[in-house]
Symmetry: C2
């Protein structure tokens, strides 16, 4: 087992990272770094520099904090020669991701920009099914309730928080993984609450007849669907990629490796470290940056949690 | 001389591209493509597909139209096996630039994403002077009058027009060329007129003490300065890179090659074609996309031309 430190003990760390590491045969959670959060039974630090200096035996660091503060931690860990795994999105800017990738290459360590939605069970089967087909269009419907998923987290609407494009980037991480050829944004409409900086709803139109509809105000059942058309054939990913339908019929397939998105991420991180490789695919973040650059903004009703 | 077609006969084409091609020993302007504009004595087309089909002897295409409509023309020219030069910015999105770069590689032709400000006389000397120095900070001051430079061009404030980041990207193209190590955006303030989509002023703060101030409301003398600090030493580029000062004293240096930004671009394009190479450096556009993604927006007074 390799020792790993987890940085940023907030909701996503507690819900996903801690149990995934606990269940991973490759990893031992040897330390945490967080201003306030701790994990029972695990050595806790508040500063990353102190942890890196005191624990040279910890060769890998996983960063679960929000993108804006994350860069400094990633840079410190890479400079200290540790392998680094980044939560999604890999940065608040594209340029900082390029800087981190160059630094990892220079230090000879692994940088893994993780996209947990790509590890959903049916993403790999969907990619395989689409590989030799001609895609004639696609539609993403990603509708969830921000009050449920980010209760009181004002930072999601602040600059760098990305608003509804934060869950939307999960859909885009699947889309960019399964499509056999890349698409590019042609237009976008961003609906921004009058009292906020980031959009609460967005409509995106890409080349090749690919469209996306993101909404953060859906109460009741949540929708995370991607439908891809190949002429008369239709592939549908539902529940964020957990289920797949071909022409409306459920498609089941044995999945290789651990079950669950985060357990699969940590297995993948271990494989990358073992192979001496990095994986920094910025395509989903490029689409978000493009949407912010090219999108038309429309003011909508103020939003309070 | 190699035959070249110029697409998009608007202000920038008439002011810069046509005289630069006319003065270039490597190029002959063999055709234009434009909905309305023409160049006296040059074969004029309104559709690019027709020109490409009728003139297989024209091996290169230069695209001087605005970024939003430009992609389709670039794609058509590359698919037809022609070398392509793009005005700045190279696209309305980063993803479309990646698509074009991949297409150029696949077709075995040259793609040149041009940045005319990098050809200003003192940019290469500034880069050489900074190459082995430690940069401790830098400040860009880019203040010009949008009514003078873009009279009545409402598209500069529309989605994809980038607003003041369109001249600002010229400064960023110089900055990314001369700095010995890359920087990344840490925060930005974008001032957006109440009746427009794109900013009319912007303040950017990068890592490494690098800041930028863009403003589009400066009447009277225009300012295009970049000051770089290396400890106690100070390099200043003035007039968009036409002049350089070291510690406040004018620095003069013989410049190799043709005089003028656009003549130098066309010489560079010819060299790239001859060498079978592409040059698609997206770093300036990455910074603009990052500013649009990370920047805080503030509504300011409505703007009319």
């Amino acid at each position: 087992m390799s020792k790993i430190a987890l940085v940023g003990i907030g909701k996503i760390a507690v819900d996903q990272h801690v149990p995934a590491i606990a269940g991973a045969p490759e990893w031992e959670l040897a330390a945490t770094v967080s201003r306030r959060g701790t994990v029972e039974g695990v050595e806790a630090w508040t500063g990353i520099d102190e942890m890196l200096a005191a624990r040279p035996d910890i060769g890998a660091v996983s960063l679960a904090l929000p993108p804006v503060p994350r860069f400094a931690y990633a840079e410190a860990a890479l400079r200290a020669g540790r392998h680094v795994m980044l939560e999604k999105p890999p940065g608040a800017t594209l340029a900082e991701c390029h800087v981190l990738a160059a630094l990892a290459a220079k230090m000879g360590v692994t940088l893994f920009a993780s996209w947990h939605s790509r590890e959903a069970a049916m993403v790999a089967p969907a990619k395989a099914w689409l590989a030799d087909r001609q895609v004639t269009g696609a539609h993403i419907t990603w509708r969830e309730d921000v009050r449920h998923w980010h209760p009181g987290q004002d930072w999601v609407f602040e600059p760098g928080g990305m608003g509804v494009l934060d869950p939307g980037i999960n859909a885009l991480s699947i889309l960019t993984e399964i499509l056999p050829a890349p698409v590019h944004l042609q237009s976008a409409l961003l609906e921004v609450p009058a009292n906020r900086q980031a959009p609460i709803a967005a409509d995106l139109a890409f080349s090749g007849g690919v469209t996306a509809e993101f909404n953060w105000l859906q109460t009741g059942p949540q929708t995370w669907d991607i439908q891809v058309h190949c002429g008369d054939d239709r592939l549908t990913l539902r529940e964020g990629g957990a289920r797949m339908e071909i022409n409306g019929h459920d498609h089941d397939e044995a999945v290789v490796g651990p079950t669950g998105e985060y357990p699969r991420l940590y297995e993948r991180f271990a494989r990358l470290v073992a192979a001496g490789e990095s994986d920094v695919d910025l395509a989903p973040l490029v689409h978000v940056a493009d949407a912010m650059m090219l999108g038309a903004r429309k003011n909508v009703e103020a939003f309070e949690f």
